[in-house]
Symmetry: C2
Subunit: 378 residues, 2 copies
C-alpha cells in the first residue's frame, strides 16, 4: 500500500480538537478539572448515526489512524493499511474516529499540558489514567460527535483492551467489539517487562522525578532502553531470526561495544527514534494502564462473571507467533464470552510477525477483518 495511494484515496486529513469543561473523576480517585482530546475522523456519519467506528490506539499510537497530512505527506496514519475507502474498515461505509487518549503526548491533555492550577506543565503531577478512564473520556467524545451507539469499537493490544472495556462500561453504546492481539489482563511476565522499562526511565538522572520538562531536558537514555525492550517483545523470535539472524553489520566481529550484529543496529535505531519524540511520563502511564487492566479483578478473578454485562458481539483475533499476548490469552476472552452465550467470532491467524502482526496487512488477517466488518449492518 503506497503512501501516495493512501493519502490519495482518503484525501489529506486534519486533526481536530475538543475541550470538555466538566471535571472527570478518574479510577484512582484523582480528578481532572477538564480536558482536551485530539481526534481525526474519516468518512461521513450517516443520518441515522449508525455507522460510527472508534479505533483505539495502543501504547505508542495516536489519533492519526489513517491518511496523511497536507503539510507532512509522509506522515501516514498507523493503521492506514486497514482504514480507508475500499479497505477492510471501509470509510465509504463507516464513519471512523481516531482519538489520542487522555494522558497521551500527541495533543490530548497529558503530562506535557499546562496544569491550570500552577501554570506549569503537569509532568509527574498528571494523574495516572486507566483503560476505564480512557473509555470514559472517549464516551464524551462520542457525545460530542453525536454518536449514541458505536457500530464497532476496535483496537490491537492495549487498544483491544479499550474495545473490551467499552463493552463493559457502556454495554448499550457498542454493537461490536473487535479485540485484536490483546489479553484480558497482563501476566507476571508482561508486567515484568513493563517494570524494567519503567525503571529504565525512572532511574535516568534526567528524569528528575518526572519534572524534566521544567528543566529543559528529556530522559532519552531511559526512553531509549524502554523502547528497545518493548521492541523485542513486539517481534517474534522466528521473525527476528529471519529478519536479522546473526548478520554482522561490518562483516566481522568488532571486539568492542560498537554494533556487531544487525539486530543491535535495529534496536538502537528504534530506541533513538522513539526517544526523540515520545514523552516519558506518558510512556510510564501507558504501561501502568496496561498493568492495571483486569476486568475480572472485582469478580474474584472470574472473567466470565466480569463479562456477563457485555451485550456487544465480538470478534477476537490473535496471532500464532505473538508471545507478548499469545493466542491462549485471547482464548480466555472467547471462553468467558461463550460462557455468557455471547456472539463471538474467533480467528487465530498464522503470521510470523509476533505481536506487531496486528499492524500489518497480512492477507488472512485482513480478510478476517474485512469479512467481519462487511457483515456489520449500518
Amino acid at each position: 500500500m503506497s503512501q501516495e495511494n493512501s493519502a490519495g484515496a482518503l484525501g489529506f486529513v486534519v486533526p481536530q480538537r475538543v475541550r470538555f469543561d466538566a471535571p472527570l473523576t478518574l479510577k484512582s480517585g484523582a480528578a481532572l478539572p477538564g480536558f482536551e482530546l485530539v481526534y481525526e475522523t474519516y468518512g461521513t456519519l450517516n443520518a441515522a448515526r449508525t455507522n460510527a467506528v472508534l479505533v483505539c490506539h495502543a501504547l505508542s499510537g495516536s489519533h492519526h489512524v489513517a491518511g496523511a497530512y497536507a503539510e507532512d505527506p509522509n506522515n501516514v496514519g498507523w493503521w492506514d493499511n486497514l482504514v480507508g475507502p475500499g479497505k477492510p474498515l471501509d470509510t465509504n461505509k463507516f464513519f471512523v474516529v481516531g482519538v489520542n487518549n487522555l494522558g497521551g503526548c500527541y495533543g490530548s491533555t497529558g503530562p506535557l499540558s499546562l496544569n491550570p492550577q500552577t501554570g506549569k506543565r503537569y509532568g509527574a503531577d498528571f494523574p495516572l489514567v486507566t483503560v476505564e478512564d480512557w473509555v470514559a473520556a472517549q464516551a464524551r467524545l462520542a457525545d460530542h460527535l453525536g454518536v449514541d451507539v458505536w457500530a464497532a469499537v476496535l483496537g490491537g493490544s492495549l487498544g483491544g483492551m479499550q474495545a473490551l472495556e467499552w463493552s463493559l462500561q457502556f454495554p448499550e453504546r457498542i454493537r461490536h467489539a473487535m479485540v485484536i492481539a490483546s489479553a484480558p489482563k497482563l501476566s507476571a511476565q508482561n508486567i515484568a517487562f513493563n517494570e524494567v522499562a519503567r525503571q529504565a526511565i525512572l532511574s535516568d538522572p534526567d528524569f528528575h522525578g518526572g519534572h524534566y520538562a521544567e528543566r529543559g531536558v528529556v530522559p532519552v537514555r531511559g526512553l531509549r532502553l524502554a523502547r528497545m525492550i518493548g521492541h523485542i517483545t513486539y517481534l517474534s523470535d522466528d521473525q527476528m531470526g529471519e529478519k536479522f539472524g546473526r548478520q554482522l553489520r561490518h562483516g566481522t566481529h568488532k571486539f568492542s561495544y560498537d554494533v556487531d550484529f544487525e539486530v543491535e543496529s535495529y534496536l538502537r535505531y528504534q530506541g533513538d527514534k522513539f526517544a526523540g519524540f515520545f514523552d516519558a511520563n506518558t510512556y510510564l502511564m501507558m504501561t501502568k494502564a496496561l498493568d492495571y487492566f483486569d476486568p475480572a479483578y472485582d469478580y474474584d478473578g472470574k472473567l466470565a462473571a466480569a463479562l456477563a454485562r457485555a451485550k456487544a458481539k465480538f470478534l477476537v483475533a490473535s496471532f500464532s507467533t505473538d508471545w507478548r499476548f499469545s493466542p491462549a490469552r485471547s482464548r480466555e476472552i472467547v471462553f468467558a464470552l461463550l460462557e455468557n452465550r455471547r456472539h463471538v467470532a474467533y480467528a487465530e491467524i498464522d503470521c510470523d510477525a509476533g505481536h506487531d502482526s496486528f499492524l500489518l496487512d497480512d492477507a488472512h488477517y485482513h480478510a478476517v477483518m474485512r469479512a467481519y466488518l462487511e457483515n456489520i449492518e449500518v
Copy 2:
C-alpha cells in the same frame, strides 16, 4: 539440601590461586601479558589422573561451585546441590574443579585487576575474551593441576558452550562433554536482550566509558536494569505466573510508580542485589562472549562440519520451559553430533523453571545427571 548438610558433607572449601606468566593471545588478537585464575577443587585426583571434572560457570557464576567457606558458612557454592559426596557429581569418585573465568570479577584477572602497564585497574582496557579464550586459559589450569584429560567438562548455559568448545579445541583432552541448557549460538532475540542489557550499562552516566573504578563510582543503575532484564529471560512465563501471578504487594493498586505487584518487588530486589557486587565491565564482556560464540561460523554455518573434530561423548540436556535456550537449540547440537556418528545422550526434561532449571535439584534432571556420571569410568 540444607546448607549445613552441604558444608558438612563436603567440608569447608578454600579457593586457590595460580599465576600464568606466559602471554596469552586472545581471539580478538589482543594479548594478556600473563594472568591469574582463582579456582576450587573438591575430591581427590586419583593416581592415574583419570577422574578430573571441570565445571564451567555461566554469566554470573564463579569458581565457588560447591561447599561453603569457614569464614562465611552461608556462602554456599552455586551448584552445591549437584556436586559433593554422594551427589550426582560425586566427589567421592571425581576430582571436581571450579574456576573463575578470565575477565571475571571473583578474583581471576579481569577488568578490576591492576594493569601492569599502567599500575591502574584495567577497567574498559581489559580485552574482550571469548569462550575460546576461556577454554585456552582453563587448559593452562589443567596443565597446572596435572590433568591431561578431563573425565568430563560440564556446564549450563554459557558454561555448556565452554564444555562444547573444549570438545573442539582440545578433542584429545576431554572424554565427556555435558552441555546443559545451552545452544550452539545465540539467536537474534538472544543477542537483542544482551544488547539492551549492555546499553543500560553503557549509557549509565556513572559508567564513564568503563573507567568508573578510577572515579570511585559504579554504574549501579545500568547493572540493575541489565540484571532485571536477564531475570525475566531466566524464568519461564508459566513459573512467573505461578510464583507471582498478579499478586499485589500492598493489597491495592497504588496509582504511582511504587511497587504494585510482587513481581516488580522481586525484580527490583534481584537487580539491586546484583548491582551491589558484580562488575559492569565483566558483565558486558560476558554478554559479548555469549554473542560471539558460534563454532559453525568458520564452517559456512554448518554445525555438523564444525563438530566433526569432536571426539568426546556427549550428554546434552534441555528444559521444556526454557525459552532463552529452548530444547530446539539443544537438538541442533544433538543432530550435528549424530551426523558425525558421535556418542550422544539427550534428555529433554519437563521442568517449569525455565532457563534457571539447570541450577535446580529437579529429581528427573538430577537422575539423568547421576546416571550419566555414574557410567563414566575413572
